[in-house]
């Protein structure tokens, strides 16, 4: 299966990158842009064919490595490949 994972900062956690991008966009003349937040996006293939099993595996990967759960949330999408 293919897993698509979004890792985003939790609400309230400072996002210096997002802030810098927001400033840069406005300096480039893009007005009305707000609340820019930067996260990570990961794609991977996993040998599992059962969706529920795959989800459990990927969640485990997120908890253990892919996300820093102290400050980040993650969101998993799965697709048979």
């Amino acid at each position: 299966m293919k897993a698509r994972i979004k890792v985003t900062l939790k609400n309230g956690v400072l996002d210096p990158q997002g802030k810098a991008i927001e400033n840069a966009l406005s300096a480039l003349g893009f007005d009305g842009v707000d609340d820019v937040r930067q996260g990570k996006y990961l794609e991977l293939d996993i040998a599992e064919t059962d969706e529920a099993c795959a989800r459990t595996r990927v969640e485990e990967m997120c908890e253990k490595l892919l996300a820093n759960t102290v400050i980040e949330n993650y969101d998993i999408e799965l697709e048979a490949s």
């Binding site: 990158q17 810098a20 991008i21």
Partner: protein, 234 residues
């Protein structure tokens, strides 16, 4: 010779390179703020190392969009020599003045240490005081110095003799397959540490020549680059 160093918020090697330039030229370079729209008349533009805009988004990406860079690109295309060191090299690729990109080091770690370099070409204003037999020792300090470009681009760079420096071991052997860390510190394609534009007037390099241009700092292999510029551009 008049030279100018562009200062971005987050630049942090601007003073270091200004000192090296002053030592070579006998007078200090002009410092130009990123918010200005024009670089004063000049014989050399330097884009210094550091973390412009925090290196947020992509290294050099936000700096490449700053007002002053439009003029830098214009002057570079008109033939004014431009030296981009480290973060400056990243800016040069982001503006398209140089091809390719600098990706994260293969180790995914920031690396600060002396590396050895082979000088590939000695007919430019930057390197005419070196010889191709020289093995330079110059420090690197970066997290994104892993030069990447497609094979077609790499072939063209090599075919047009546009590779400026390559990582090598202290005895000049090529950068791969050495025991211990290997001489290629970051995984750069074909051991590339620096490249030129087509005209040989724009140089982007990851190593910091300004950091070993003073005997007190433990080496002077960087000095010849600044001396070369002072001589060629007077």
């Amino acid at each position: 010779m008049k030279s100018h160093v562009i200062v971005f918020p987050g630049s942090n090697c601007d003073r270091d390179v200004a000192v090296a330039l002053e030592n070579a030229m006998g007078h200090p370079p002009g410092m130009v703020w990123h918010g200005d729209t024009e670089v004063p008349e000049t014989d050399l533009i330097v884009l210094p190392g550091g973390f412009s805009y925090g290196d947020y988004l992509r290294c050099g990406a936000i700096a490449a969009q700053s007002p002053i860079m439009r003029d830098v690109v214009k002057k570079a295309n008109a033939g004014t020599p431009v030296l981009g060191i480290c973060n400056g090299f990243q800016m040069l690729t982001e503006t398209g003045l140089l091809p390719g990109v600098l990706m994260q080091n293969a180790s995914l770690r920031y690396i600060c240490k002396d590396v050895h370099l082979k000088v590939e070409r000695t007919d430019t204003c930057f390197t005419h005081k070196y010889s191709t037999a020289d093995i330079l020792r110059i420090p690197i300090a970066h997290h994104e110095g892993n030069y990447y470009a497609g094979d077609d681009v790499l072939d063209r760079l090599e075919g047009e003799n546009r590779v400026a420096f390559r990582y090598c071991s202290a005895d000049g052997a090529d950068g791969k397959n050495l025991p211990f860390e290997g001489a290629n510190p970051n995984g750069a394609a074909r051991d590339i540490a620096g490249i030129y534009n087509e005209a040989g007037t724009v140089l982007g390099m990851m190593p910091h020549p300004e950091r070993l241009a003073d005997p007190e700092l433990g080496g002077t292999d960087g000095t010849a680059m600044f001396d070369a510029l002072a001589e060629a551009l007077q």
